[in-house]
């Protein structure tokens, strides 16, 4: 058993290492060849890398804000993950910066942002925020680890040597020195709080000030960024604590903390969903073409599944169910899994922020005005038939699955045994999906495609004539950008780097306080 686990661990790290190695190769290719290796084009000039940039800045700011709960607001229950939160904030800020770096057309000039400063540019303001943030973060983390570094530096092995270097000559291990450290950390945290809000709210403002893109333009955007950052940050800590960290903690204490973090995640996530609803419902009702087209593209475009499956079902709906259902909500492993799902789902959120808003040409017909568009163009016609087809496929699968489980239950009954609980659960879910899909299928069969599209088969009901009819428009939806292999590989490389840095840091640094609370 132990051996099997070690083998699994080695395989996982081997895979991560390999992906990172290949990915860093892709980064080198990109650095040598310029942005020609990407599929970015004049319609969509920002793509996967910018999406990952705001994703990691969000993870970082979210983690940091979680740490302020401990060190500023004195939320003692989260004390044991305070350092971990700060450390992940640091690592993911670096990851975010790496994504900006490889996205620059002229990477070698990145340092000029500190020389040619245009303080009217939100991006430049952000760069100042990032620098301030990284300083505060590093100082806080160091002060919190200082005594542990001094203690661990007393040995003679390689780890002690690293500790001694990182302690920067500090030798004081008295309780007074720790109390002094904590006072400084509190001040730093108070300064850091608005800075962290500036870091991610400002990243949202980067988009919110662009009046050329109605989907981005507006005062709600920076707030959405902060809330989703908090959701992803707390979800990340839930996941890491449930599966990897907290080895030094008592099992019960750790489990309780995971469940608490899960609840916090669910709260932020629910608030994030509320903002999403506000954004979309008002936008759809408003019916402003440029705005609406972007929403149509998100909801029903070629990448509709990023919204429905990654962002909503995988990243929000299922995690909320896991956290709130009594059967799973009390199990730290399940809640940790929910945290992982949120962390992944937010990637979909970020992709849908950056790419669709750019994919609607600012002037109709601009995309066809020039034939040398170096990008794959994907056309996807009307949406509901697609969703219906999918639902029908689900219906068939669900029906087959349900029959199968019925069979198994029948077999158990024949042996005089009760059905398992999960079997009953699966049967009810399968039946629900099958019934829903069959209902839609019948509607479509009765009414034909057009009727199903516009009135869901109910005669006299034409949804295009309602205030929300615009979203059901039947024009073709195009996407002008699919990330190139290099973009995917480079991203994988940078993400792998972040994971490895995180793991190494976790092994070497005293990220979990031994004092307890």
């Amino acid at each position: 058993m132990q051996q099997a686990q070690r083998f699994l661990k080695l395989t996982a790290w081997g895979a991560i290492g390999l992906v990172t190695l290949v990915g860093m190769g892709a980064v080198v290719i990109r650095a040598l060849n310029g942005l020609g290796v990407t599929n970015l084009n004049f319609i969509v000039p920002w793509g996967l890398w910018v999406a990952f940039y705001i994703y990691f800045i969000g993870l970082s700011a979210g983690s940091f804000l979680m740490s302020t709960m401990v060190y500023v607001f004195g939320f003692k229950k989260l004390e044991s993950i305070g350092r971990l939160a700060l450390f992940s904030a640091l690592i993911f800020l670096i990851a975010g910066m790496n994504f900006v770096l490889i996205d620059l057309g002229r990477m070698e000039r990145f340092w000029t942002v500190f020389v040619n400063r245009n303080l009217w540019s939100v991006l430049e303001i952000e760069i100042h925020f990032y620098v301030l943030y990284i300083v505060i973060l590093t100082l806080e983390l160091w002060l919190l680890m200082r005594r542990d570094l001094v203690v661990c530096g007393q040995g003679n092995d390689w780890k002690a040597r690293i500790c001694r270097i990182l302690a920067f000559g500090s030798k004081d291990v008295s309780d007074e020195s720790v109390a002094r450290d904590r006072r400084i950390v509190r001040v730093l945290g108070i300064i850091g709080l608005p800075v962290a809000i500036g870091v991610h709210g400002g990243t949202g403002a980067l988009f919110a000030v662009v009046k050329a893109r109605p989907m981005w333009y507006g005062p709600l955007f920076p707030i959405i960024f902060i809330v989703s950052a908090l959701a992803s940050g707390s979800a990340l800590l839930t996941f890491v604590l449930a599966f990897f960290a907290g080895k030094g903690m008592a099992k019960q204490e750790r489990d309780e903390l995971v469940l608490l973090l899960g609840k916090i995640t669910a709260g932020f996530l629910a608030f994030d969903l509320l903002l999403l609803w506000s954004e979309f419902s008002v936008g759809i009702y408003g019916n402003i073409p440029e705005d609406l087209e972007v929403m149509r593209l998100i909801l029903f475009g070629p990448f509709w599944w990023v919204f429905w499956f990654v962002q909503i079902i995988f990243g929000a709906f299922v995690p909320l169910l896991i956290i709130f259902l009594p059967a799973t909500g009390k199990n730290p492993k399940w809640v940790g899994l929910a945290g992982f799902m949120v962390v992944v789902g937010i990637i979909g959120v970020r992709l849908n922020i950056v790419i669709p808003a750019l994919s609607i040409p600012v002037l109709p017909g601009l995309d066809e005005a020039y034939t040398m568009l170096p990008a794959p163009t994907q056309a996807f016609t009307t949406y509901p038939p697609v969703i219906l087809t999918w639902l029908n496929r689900f219906a068939i699968l669900a029906a087959l699955g349900t029959f199968g489980i019925f069979g198994l239950i029948a077999l158990r009954r024949l042996r005089g045994q009760e059905a398992y609980r999960f079997q009953r659960g699966l049967v009810s879910i399968g039946t629900a999906v099958a019934v829903l899909a069959i209902a839609l299928f019948v509607l479509r069969w009765v009414g034909g495609t057009a009727v199903t599209t516009l009135g869901l088969g109910i005669s006299g009901l034409d949804l295009t004539q309602t205030p929300i009819g615009g979203i059901l428009g039947q024009t073709e939806l195009h996407s002008f950008y699919i990330p190139s292999p290099n973009e995917w590989l480079s991203s994988a490389g940078l993400i792998g780097m972040a994971i490895i840095m995180f793991a190494v840091g976790y092994m070497v640094l005293p990220l979990e306080s031994k004092e307890g609370h």
Binding site: R109, V115, R117, S121, V210, K211, E368, A369, T371
Partner: protein, 307 residues
């Protein structure tokens, strides 16, 4: 990438445009091949420009003044004023535009634009439903906004509005973050990814026609934007930078009209100094059928459309 494009777009108008591109390619290569004479030709233009009397525009056979000649006189007059007193505007008469894309192509040739970079596309809009359709052609240069949204977003001050209203880019400062491209409501900025038409030889038969070496020479020839001499070399600006229409500033300074204006076969594009009440453009922008794109955004474009 280019292959996908080749396979998917084979509509007749595309073929026509490709033919045009091919022709320009050939013309361009011819110019490069005969580099010596070209220089002389440029000098000749300058000389002939000086011979145009500023106060006596050329009169055509039907008794009217050719707008091109009048605009050249307007330009010469404007150049005598200090830069800060000039206000360059462009007027495009949509009723005259036939959608030939000559302006797009001449712009590509003038500024040596690589694939994916376009300063002045002609946007085609189909109005009505088949078979009762008509087409509207909308050439779209940079609007040279008075309140340009692309300028404040630049983190490194690499782009700014000149005194005469033209929004320019410093290729040596630009870090290629492309924030300005997303901020432009007209998509007037594009990004130089460093591609060349030579990357995919099967793309056009131009290369087969003129030979790879000549094609290469044409593609690598220097661009003279902003009066600078920038040969196209790997890793050198403007590769990796944002690029945009600058009303052919380098031509203006030499007393020449923008390339798109001189090549417009329908005389649909006008250019001149709006601060000069006697200029042709000042007359045109005073007409009631004048329109500007997306005025509601408060960008104050300096490109006017007549419709």
């Amino acid at each position: 990438m280019a292959k996908t494009e080749e396979n998917t777009t084979l509509a007749p108008d595309t073929t026509r445009r490709r033919l045009l591109q091919t022709l320009v390619g050939v013309a361009g290569v011819a110019t490069v091949a005969a580099a010596g004479p070209v220089k002389k030709a440029t000098e000749a233009t300058t000389i002939s420009l000086d011979t145009i009397p500023v106060d006596a525009p050329v009169v055509t056979s039907d008794g009217k003044v050719d707008p091109l000649e009048r605009m050249r006189a307007d330009l010469a007059r404007a150049l005598q004023k200090p830069v800060s007193e000039r206000r360059w505007v462009m007027v495009i008469d949509l009723r005259k535009c036939v959608g030939c894309s000559a302006c797009t192509i001449s712009c590509v040739a003038e500024n040596h634009l690589p694939p994916g970079v376009v300063y002045r596309p002609v946007v085609e809009e189909e109005i009505g439903t088949f078979p009762n359709v008509t087409k509207r052609f909308l050439p779209r240069p940079c609007m040279q906004c008075d309140n340009p949204p692309c300028v404040p977003v630049c983190p490194v001050n690499a782009t700014w509005k000149r005194e005469d209203g033209i929004v320019t880019i410093d290729y040596d400062k630009c870090i290629g973050c492309r924030y300005c491209i997303t901020a432009c409501p007209y998509n007037a900025r594009t990004f130089d990814k460093g591609l060349t038409y030579n990357d995919d030889v099967s793309e056009t038969n131009t290369i087969a026609l003129v030979g790879p070496a000549n094609a290469e020479a044409y593609e690598m020839a220097a661009t003279h934007e902003y009066g600078e001499n920038r040969p196209r070399k790997e890793g050198r600006s403007p590769i990796g930078n944002a690029r945009k229409c600058h009303f052919c500033l380098h031509r203006l300074e030499k007393g020449m009209l923008p390339a798109c204006t001189t090549t417009c076969i329908g005389r649909a594009t006008y250019f001149g100094d709006a601060n000069d009440p006697d200029s042709l453009v000042s007359e045109l922008i005073a007409s009631p059928n004048v329109m500007r794109l997306k005025e509601e955004l408060g960008t104050e474009p300096k490109v006017y459309y007549l419709q």
